[in-house]
């Protein structure tokens, strides 16, 4: 008879079961079982008084860089960072080298991730080579383990191709995730358009570069009836469009990233390349709108857009620096700040970081009901620490949060009953 893991005295928060109570959680053989349902002496007890016990957090937008850019991150280091950040699963973007646009690459990623510290759900490319010309093989990739499709980083310019992608993806019951960017407006830009960009002499990217494409995706979702997920929403204007589309019943979901509800374009001052990402950090009014939209349901999920880079890409002139920041190990603490600031409640946090990503991607997890897979995140909401990139598990040290005082972090991560991270 196999061992029983007892998570004792924790506050179990499971919005799917509408559950929020201090109780014990029992795990055996990688599944959640009814506490007290079996009698055994082979138990491992964790006293979790003061901690939250949550369905494993799922980050639906992560760049693991493997294959091709292993100097920035590998599936192994990326999943270690994920586990340390409280994530039990991540969806990995296809902009690897080669691009994950076929079943062979998808299979490679899946095989590499076996026994890693977090589940990896590959996201395939919308178009071959993410070149925006012809459809990639969705069926092959799905069979190999892909859960969704995107040309993240290379927005699909051709509206007809995007329409076909949505229609064809729906035949395979796959989700399209849109990196919404009108390239002709963002071309050459490296931060939000506005006063700070003008003062710094940097080419700006207007909010409309995002919102125009968000509106296109909404229109195509209405046209095709297919599902559409908008990645990394940064702007108030986009949020307004998504809100009204949802009110009309359009099948659209959306995510944002912690940096969009934590930082503004001011973080770029001093030509800080660790605050350069795409879409760019926006104005305070956008940050406020993102926070509001997380509370009112317009935004469905918090995802990191974890984009590790080396100093080769970041210790250069600002306009030449690569876009993106590492985010896996700071996402939960930054999101917990929203709870402390009463922007969202604890149950909503779990919804945004676990239930919704599971539901949108159609993957296991997102609930702690008896019989569910034992993907569990234990959070100490009071634990204070100073985030240091040098101590982070990710190879990507490109974080604007280096040296930040944080409150609240994952103290135990568990994938299918296997402890993948422990800090208690």
């Amino acid at each position: 008879m196999s061992k029983v893991i007892v998570l004792k005295n924790g506050r179990i928060i499971d919005p799917v079961q509408k559950r929020d109570e201090i109780a014990d959680l029992w795990v055996r053989d990688g599944l959640i079982i009814q506490p007290g349902s079996i009698e055994t002496t082979d138990v491992e007890i964790h006293d979790l008084a003061g901690c939250w016990v949550l369905p494993g957090l799922i980050d639906m937008h992560v760049h693991l860089r493997e294959p091709g850019e292993e100097y920035k991150e590998t599936i192994e280091t990326g999943t270690l960072a994920a586990a340390a950040g409280g994530f039990t699963a991540v969806a990995s973007m296809p902009n690897t080298n080669p691009v994950n646009d076929n079943g062979v690459i998808t299979k490679f990623i899946c095989e590499k991730s076996v026994s890693c510290a977090a589940r990896v759900y590959p996201v395939g490319a919308i178009s071959k080579g993410s070149k925006g010309e012809t459809l990639a093989e969705y069926g092959e990739m799905k069979t190999a383990g892909a859960v969704a499709l995107t040309d993240d980083g290379n927005p699909v310019v051709d509206s007809q191709l995007m329409r076909r992608a949505m229609e064809y993806a729906s035949s395979h019951d796959m989700l399209i995730m849109s990196h919404s960017e009108e390239l002709s407006l963002s071309k050459g830009g490296c931060m939000n358009e506005g006063e700070i960009a003008t003062r710094m002499g940097l080419r700006g990217i207007p909010v409309s570069a995002e919102s125009i494409m968000v509106q296109r995706e909404i229109a195509l979702a209405e046209l095709t009836g297919a599902r559409m997920h908008i990645a990394h929403v940064s702007a108030e204007q986009s949020i307004a469009l998504i809100r009204s589309a949802k009110a009309r019943g359009v099948k659209i979901t959306a995510e944002t990233a912690p940096h969009y509800f934590t930082l503004t374009e001011k973080a770029v001052l001093g030509y800080n390349t660790n605050a350069k990402m795409n879409p760019p950090l926006r104005a305070e009014s956008d940050r406020h709108a993102v926070r509001e939209a997380l509370g009112d349901g317009t935004l469905d999920a918090i995802a990191t857009d974890h984009a590790p880079h080396s100093i080769l890409e970041k210790e250069v002139e600002f306009n030449l620096a690569a876009n993106g920041i590492a985010g896996l190990e700071t996402s939960l603490p930054l999101s917990l700040a929203l709870v402390r600031e009463n922007v969202i409640g604890p149950a909503r946090l779990v919804e945004l970081m676990s239930c919704a990503p599971a539901r949108i991607l159609g993957v296991p997890g997102g609930s702690l009901h008896v019989g569910a897979v034992a993907d569990i995140t234990v959070v100490d909401p009071e634990k204070r620490f100073t985030f240091s990139v040098q101590e982070s598990f990710s190879k990507g040290k490109n974080s604007p949060f280096d040296g930040w005082e944080m409150q609240g972090k994952a103290v135990l991560s568990m994938v299918e009953g296997r402890i993948t991270y422990r800090d208690m």
């Binding site: 358009e193 506005g194 006063e195 960009a197 003008t198 003062r199 710094m200 002499g201 940097l202 080419r203 700006g204 207007p206 001093g270 030509y271 210790e315 250069v316 002139e317 600002f318 306009n319 030449l320």
Partner: protein, 320 residues
């Protein structure tokens, strides 16, 4: 100026970092140095033994020459490096270049670069002083200072003057330095040009955006035109140079609207007949060549001050 004033800047990245006192001090120092260039022997020993590197990643004739003459007139040893930014993608990074130059222990690096913020990046990795000689669309502080010096010489003050800047503000680091500098010194800065040449939120820098060139030039004390890059018409920013010249070119007729004693400035090089008609460029109001002369004095002052300079005195040059 406060008696205990001290110039504190080791690097000159932009006018943005300079206080009113800093600007006044730089201009006073430059004025005191101007006379050196008129001597039969145009050399003082002030910076003897100092090593100054001109590191230019963009082609430049006058700015580089101006810095070099300024350094040599103060007896510094100068070296010119012309580099190509295109090499950064396949070869040495700016940081590596900086570290290599640092290893030879220079005192000042004068940097021109197509990337905004490149001087700050350089300064993070070296011990030498960095003077920005133009970075991307960010700033060109020595140009802003020489413009202020020229206006001071003609008007005796900057405060209360109306300055019109006409042209491609969005792509001009000179415009940014001038807008910040002149508004900080109390002038009213009015901008005019097609909307495609106006950067976002430019009014937040303190300048007024005018609806027409006429409105900007009306009763102006100073009219400054900016060079129109010939490739802008290919970026769909203007339909043609011909049309630009007709609606936004500064000519004699437009200058009638300015004050009787208004001066005309241009950071050079001029596209004659495009942004500035030849008769105005060469006319009695034009101070364009005086700007160039003052450029040497301003750059002498900057080199002197970043290297420790006077710490508050009037400088080692003779006062006028």
């Amino acid at each position: 100026m406060q008696p205990d004033y001290q110039f504190q800047h080791t690097h000159i990245f932009g006018i943005e970092q300079l206080s009113v006192e800093d600007i006044a001090h730089i201009l006073a120092t430059a004025r005191s140095f101007r006379e050196i260039s008129n001597r039969p022997i145009k050399k003082v020993p002030t910076l003897r033994g100092k090593t100054i590197v001109n590191l230019f990643f963009e082609p430049s004739t006058r700015t580089r020459l101006s810095f070099e003459i300024a350094a040599k007139r103060m007896s510094a040893d100068t070296f010119n490096i012309s580099a190509s930014t295109s090499s950064t993608t396949k070869g040495e990074t700016l940081v590596d270049t900086a570290r290599n130059i640092q290893a030879m222990n220079p005192d000042v690096i004068i940097l021109r670069h197509s990337s905004s913020g490149a001087p700050q990046l350089l300064a993070k990795h070296i011990n030498a002083s960095v003077i920005n000689a133009g970075d991307g669309a960010h700033e060109h502080p020595s140009q802003g200072l020489l413009d202020m010096m020229t206006v001071m010489e003609h008007k005796g003050k900057i405060e209360g003057l109306k300055l019109a800047i006409i042209g491609d503000i969005a792509h001009s680091r000179v415009a940014v330095s001038d807008i910040i500098g002149f508004t900080r010194m109390g002038a009213e800065v009015c901008l005019a040009g097609p909307r495609t040449f106006m950067p976002a939120a430019i009014s937040s820098l303190g300048a007024k955006v005018c609806r027409s060139v006429q409105e900007a030039v009306k009763d102006a004390d100073v009219v400054m035109t900016l060079r129109i890059q010939l490739e802008r018409q290919n970026d769909s920013l203007i339909p043609s140079l011909r049309e630009y010249s007709r609606f936004y070119g500064v000519n004699r007729q437009l200058m009638e609207l300015a004050k009787e004693d208004a001066i005309v400035m241009h950071p050079g090089p001029i596209n004659r007949g495009v942004e500035l008609s030849p008769d105005v460029a060469d006319g009695r109001r034009s101070v364009i060549l005086e700007q160039v002369t003052n450029g040497v004095a301003v750059r002498m002052a900057l080199l002197y001050l970043v290297l420790g300079g006077s710490k508050g005195s009037e400088g080692q040059g003779e006062s006028r």
